[in-house]
Symmetry: C2
Subunit: 257 residues, 2 copies
Amino acid sequence: MTTLYLLSTGPGASDYLPPLAVKALANSQHLVAYGLYLALLGNLTNNKQCHELPLGEEVERARLALTLASEGNTTALISSGDIGIYAMATLVFELLDQQQQLTKSSAWDNITIEVIPGISAIQALASRVGAPIAHDFCTISLSDLLTPWEVIENRLQAAGKGDFVIAFYNPVSRKRQWQLEQARQILLNYREAKTPVIIGKNLTRKNEAITHTTLQDLDIKQVDMLTLVMVGNSESKRIETSQQQWVYTPRGYGKTL
Amino acid sequence: MTTLYLLSTGPGASDYLPPLAVKALANSQHLVAYGLYLALLGNLTNNKQCHELPLGEEVERARLALTLASEGNTTALISSGDIGIYAMATLVFELLDQQQQLTKSSAWDNITIEVIPGISAIQALASRVGAPIAHDFCTISLSDLLTPWEVIENRLQAAGKGDFVIAFYNPVSRKRQWQLEQARQILLNYREAKTPVIIGKNLTRKNEAITHTTLQDLDIKQVDMLTLVMVGNSESKRIETSQQQWVYTPRGYGKTL
């Protein structure tokens, strides 16, 4: 049995890479990833066979990693953030599932899979601004490439009704510009105009930028593909110390303080 | 300015502790935590002044950490998992906020706060069973000690309507037993009886136990205080390889595979 690691590299800086991930990299002969993620790993990729497949070739990356591992090569399929959250891990299982249905015995069944979690963008952004996701929260991807917009809109309505703190993954792309504005409009039916909104760009990386705004003033021109957008719930509060602005969502201790 | 680290130690095993957290521990003179979390850190706590306050004394822990730091002691307030997710970070900001309102100039305003995120239980459990949170998900705490049950029930209805994958934090405690069963009943109005449910206990720690079940068969006797419960959405699938059972939530690549 050869191991296929589904390996998370966290938000960017190598300071976020736990020993578990470093060991998995050390064990791997082959690394499969989008090129930028390999660059962020620096010399941890030395002496590895690196397979860089561009954005858009996610299925090909998952397939290649499965095939390399099934041929006896210890392999790491790599995503930034947490590979289990809007990333590559699920594609591997979807391909395994499909293969099982097509051919009763799978050529990939001799692989041991080990998933290594990592810090996702929502956590990196939360850590930069205080404690915005300290109570019930949800994540919603605004990409309608693979999910029909009606499903996304239904989730936006539900998140509004349920008063969840919300993190928007894939808020915009070069081709998708209107979804974030639509989401903002929907949430304004449920939340006050002054609800705290935080925009995090290049989190933990060079040129990191954090912007504090409100649901009223959120401007999609401040947002790009490398950005996470977080919207507070009805309880989220902003405070300012001599150090910086913070946002926190209380858990309800207020009455007991 | 003295630093107060709000420090996450991840799910348990030290293999999950990134260099960022190890450095913060090394820098700290004082550690404030619930005793079990210090025990999990092993010799990283050597030569530190350790302040162990029991469960239930969360406000006292946050206050003590702020006071120690304001007196010039580099201090780490420690939570397991991610300190920003259902944990201590938010209490620090709530206390800062309260102090600012009570006394215009805060004795705690000379502190630099640095939040260090960590792997939360939802990610540890997801990594053990595949990729269940690969698409939109939410977290809901079932503890009604500080949150009215009506708020929690409203969130359960919303999560059901929105078809989010759901992770239940604080599913039960010695005194709270009925909430999880109530949640199960509510979700059965929205999801099929065979919806995958995963129960994770002592994640990454000694005696880790993962149980695969369904929404129909979820038995609250399988759940205790050290447990996370995850409920798939309408798309979540279970597959079995020679290695183990897995659960994944597809992102919609199916049509293109």
